[in-house]
Symmetry: D2
Subunit: 422 residues, 4 copies
């Protein structure tokens, strides 16, 4: 999942029809995430990558109208004729749409109208899912639920940036997430390489970009048993990591220089008293034992070079996934309502950048029609991340899931894990 790919497509055999109860559970999760936010909070867009919370709430609803109710519910009338224009994210086949960087200029519909829009859609959806026609929409409904969950993570990513841009450093939820912990040295896990099978095997839901399952040849490699921690990142910083061009890709160095980066996003330096970190729960000191987060691919790559290691390939990561031990620390309280707080563990603390550019698997073909636009058209200028983070819906942390962002992006909950040639 990435900023442009909140839509996706299940390419494999559809599972059972989602029940109305399950539908409402997912829909209510979205609303519970927006609940702490005022009308003003939900309206603003602080950079082109960010979408307003109320836009997410409306766009996910539009998805049900456009792809499920419109084609399947006889006599269905959209809630409002203009919403198709306002809340289409990027589906060129569906027609013209509102410009992405201007989502934050839209004051109406407000949050009350969007709540009504959601309720009305939910009523009709529940009716459909409880009817004899439910089987016809099993596949697309499953997709709609997964799509909505992707936007739940985006809501948290995006609102974090919105709150950060206020000089008053606002808080999403009040409780602190600081916790004690002890760092342990990372261990290298060895893998002998050879032919491995990669990609989703078709059991249960997956997005189209997770397949087809296919065979790849790996060289022998080592991979760390935990992500890189903040304490290690501080060493990198103190060793001049952000000031030494020889550690960086050429494009990365240009990005660092132009953005005047000297730390991960959301870090600030006080006067003499070390580094602080802005979280959705407030500002607190950086904890050396927690995984570093909110770094770009450029930073991850430079850090790896500084250590003499490299980032893992996504196939390496997927291959060893089942043998990776849980981590001792988590970056933050589990923020997604379905997360199991405190479980900790690795992967799952932070999304982990890989060395793999985001490309189609051999034999990949997008679905026909508008849903085919979901993943394929973003397979350029991005890198794959694996794992999941404290804001990720639980089911989305499966080993084959391919998240992706441009190498300069760092508002996702992104960290890294080291690897090296054996």
């Amino acid at each position: 999942m990435a900023v442009q790919t909140q839509g996706v497509w299940a390419r494999y055999q559809p599972g059972p029809v989602p029940s109305a109860d399950r539908y409402l559970e997912v829909r209510d999760d979205t609303e519970s995430l927006a609940e702490p936010l005022s009308a003003e909070d939900q309206t603003v867009q602080t950079m082109p990558d960010v979408s307003p919370t109320k836009w997410h709430r409306a766009h996910t609803t539009w998805f049900w109208e456009e792809f499920v109710l419109g084609p399947n519910q006889p006599g269905f009338q959209p809630f409002h004729p203009e919403y198709r224009y306002l809340f289409n994210s990027y589906y060129e086949s569906v027609g013209p749409r509102h410009s992405r960087p201007q989502r934050g200029l839209i004051t109406r519909p407000g949050i009350a109208e969007i709540a009504a829009y959601r309720r009305r859609t939910d009523d009709i959806m529940c009716e459909l899912l409880s009817s004899s026609r439910a089987a016809d929409v099993a596949g697309i409904a499953e997709l709609g639920l997964n799509h909505e969950q992707q936007h739940q993570e985006l809501i948290l990513m995006d609102i974090k940036h919105v709150l950060w841009c206020n000089p008053m450093r606002l808080t999403y939820r009040g409780e602190t997430d600081a916790r004690a912990g002890s760092a342990r040295a990372a261990q290298w896990i060895h893998h002998p390489g050879g032919l491995v099978d990669i990609g989703h095997d078709g059991a249960g839901f997956a997005f189209d970009n997770e397949g087809p399952r296919h065979r790849e040849l790996l060289q022998p490699f080592l991979i760390a048993d935990r992500p890189v921690l903040c304490g290690e990142w501080l060493e990198f910083m103190m060793d001049g990591g952000y000031r030494r061009p020889e550690l960086w890709m050429s494009d990365g160095w240009a990005t660092v220089t132009q953005g005047e980066w000297s730390s991960p996003l959301y870090w600030t330096q006080g006067e003499g008293d070390g580094w602080s970190i802005f979280t959705l729960n407030g500002v607190r000191a950086v904890v050396p034992e927690e995984p570093v987060c909110h770094i770009s691919w450029y930073e991850a790559d430079a850090f790896a070079r500084w250590t003499g290691a490299r980032l893992p390939l996504e196939a390496e990561w997927e291959t060893v996934h089942d043998t990776l031990p849980p981590a001792a620390q988590t970056h933050a309280l589990r923020l997604h309502p379905r997360s199991v707080d405190g479980a900790g563990g690795s992967p799952g603390d932070v999304w982990e950048w890989t060395a793999s550019p985001y490309s189609p698997y051999p034999g990949f073909h997008p679905a026909a029609g508008a849903v085919g636009e979901y993943n394929g058209k973003f397979m350029v200028n991005q890198f794959v991340l694996r794992g999941g983070a404290c804001v990720t819906p639980p089911g989305h942390t499966r080993p084959t899931y391919r998240n992706f962002f441009p190498p300069s992006a760092r508002w996702a909950f992104s960290g890294l894990r080291l690897a090296r040639d054996a």
Copy 2:
């Protein structure tokens, strides 16, 4: 008043102390202007020139705190320590401030907190104005009221742009302002020129840039007895006015070309059925008999050249002001709550661009301290407008009032009147 000059300074002898009743009347006018707007409407900034409604409501309140209560109310504590940073508009002497183009990124304080901020300030201000210390603040309080009224006009200018940027073409207030009317031919009023006295004579409130009163020498001239009408502007458009570089200043032609301008702001062309105009009361057909509005100085200048005339100097305008007859049509319902609807008249329908760059009058010196920053530091790259519009607070249409905007600005309610050499 212009976008950068919501602060000003009365240079002449202070009048009587404003009463608490008068204070509340002005303050309530601001609130009544915001009343039709949702929290979302009040939060958004659609271009750097525009400020959010809730920012205007907070900034005008900050003005009372910073310039009246802070220096004059013993033991006064500001409502919130961060507001000084957030709601300072441009007073460098007061300290650092929030970047103007980022006013629309601020979600909190929300409108409820700002309403509380206003009420608390009003309580203390009324206490002060009813006390024996009231005389000490007579001058600065009068300034504060005029300052707040300037922002009332800005609220309407700015929200018009916000509503326009929504593809649903929102309405500020529902009633239509279309009205019948008959155009009469403009008549030339002759003035013999000679020595005239220009500027405010010191009776009643005026901003510092309206003085000192001084003598100027005018050449004989003619000036039209009404502003240019939409019907005349349509002729200009049909004659290729926006496509003929010989009619334009060089900078103006670059602006037209880059902005792809082919009509005034807020005009749209339907399919075959003529031009429509977006107003605060909705979209309706252009009425040929109403004064043209929302044009830049570049457009006003080009139109005048097309007719063989020119724009009047501000001294010419001021000299003949008392002899100008009322106009037959108004552009819009009077939108300011203190306006007398339907009065019509000229000047007062639209602000009128003059040929005068905005420069200091002979002998002008800004006041000392932060209030001295109000007008003087904007006396470059702008042109003077005279008159007033349907959104202007009534007292601000006095003959000596100098409004000003850059030559490319057109979100103000700006039109033009023709003049020529005699």
Copy 3:
């Protein structure tokens, strides 16, 4: 004269027909200015305001073709059909033209072809000026000569910027222009104000923007008897002049901040050993007794505010011109081939910014046709400069001459003189 106004128009009675000898003298001056420059030097454009030397040489030649030979020489064929497109500066009436910021992308014609272009045009022009038809072109030929002289100054302004942009800090001509000198305190000259006559009286050549001569009313004022010197400017710098927003116009402060200005253009600071200045003759130490040069209007205005004075109005400057004494120091060797080196004197050392926005005089009307585009269409967003500099052709330093540039420009040889209310 300014960057956009290399074309102009004589509005008054034409004088005698320029002789072929005088024509060749002016044309040869242009060539002698280009002579120290290589083909590479003459090709480059270092910012949009700058034009390549070879473009100036070709454009001035195109002017003769377009406005003199084409209309007056029977059977005349242009040298090359594409040159009309390439070397038209800004005359919209003449047809489409090459984009100004792309003048530096044109490698051909090269300097050899342009030299041939000039020679061929000179041959035909001399034939025409020696013929019986010469009287028909007296006015436009006089204009052509003055136009070409304006470009001679531009060649020097522009090549100075080109040479400066090379990190090797190139030299236009080798000799040093450092000279000893003693500063004397500036004296205030008093003028009682009253009605004065301003503008060219029609005797001899003048550009259209110098007229009509007309009457203005002045207030009593004082004006300094010499320009501001570098030593005074250093005091301004040491007093934090470039770091104190209260001294600056709002737009000026934005310009200083964005451009990171901390001194005039072409000044550099060595390690511990004071300020150096880059001149066309090389780099040398700043001489405190020479007039400050290469400052913008914003800087001139801020300096005047810092001293408690102001800039003079252009009418004030013109009125006292004849009583201004010669200065003790000059900024540089006289660089124009017709300059009298070492004459010194004030005005004439540097162009002097005035407080007057560049506007038309009362009764000004541009000429008909393409030549009417020369001055009028630039009368916005600029300020008037008076005087002349070491690079100015001698005849162009007349008291009524109105030079003009935008307030942020500083690659002209621009300084300032102080004035104040009496």
Copy 4:
């Protein structure tokens, strides 16, 4: 080779020491490419990607000074102390350098000084290569020769853009390259997939990015036996290829829209008479039978999708390379002086975009020191091209050579070949 990678590194066993004769042959080739160009032609930079010809001539000379003579010639003094700053392309380890987009602002040294710089360096290099110390520099000298040859291709790519930007549509060399030809239908070559060995085997010179040789697993695939031709591209255009978003990557569609692309670079459409193409030999009609050239990766990818095929992986391309038949047509005269004109053949007509992002091969490690910056730091945001073009030095068309450019670049001589899953 790509715009950022004119430096490279031979990682394998050095071959024999290059003789002085071979050295001079390569150096003279560079000079012969510059020979048709005037001083003005060699000075200009028309976009940031382009470097001036004289910069290429100087930079390749600096390479010999910096990496061969400086470390190996006792007592060596550089030709000029500033050249190290001016002519370093991107080697951060070597020190600060002149900003790339400002290479076109440097007028001096001119072409005469650069010719002297080259001759002096050649003299010392020939002395070194003929001496007993020659063996010490065998590896770096071989690299220097290959580096210089890469710049020979860049000289032709870059000057084509320079000449194109002149509205007079200049010609590099006069002869026409139009030729008759007959198109044959493309045939699919089948490959069964399986384990293949990829990368340079270490015999002869190769750049570091061509290794290490390693094993990869391929799926069965089909690949076309010739590149896509202009006639096929015209069909794509006529079928709305540049106007149908569903054919494009999301970033590609944004590029097409913003750049208003409707054809390959250097194509222009006359009035009613079809498409013309600008070549280094002049403008002529598009020949349907020649390979399409000057397209971006985005265009290649969209075209492949339009046909239902895809781009080949670079490993697929390399695997079948030896079985690809020669093509019937070539795009242009062979322009590199060592090219065999008219040979035709495939690959070699155009560089062919692949589906492979430019990433390091397994086990890749850059060399230590400045030469290690050559290839590794560009392995992001680029795609690999294989083959070679009419401007490519003959030895650089080897099957393992990895050229690379960003997906939006199209000033290289880039075309495409189709592939599909078997």
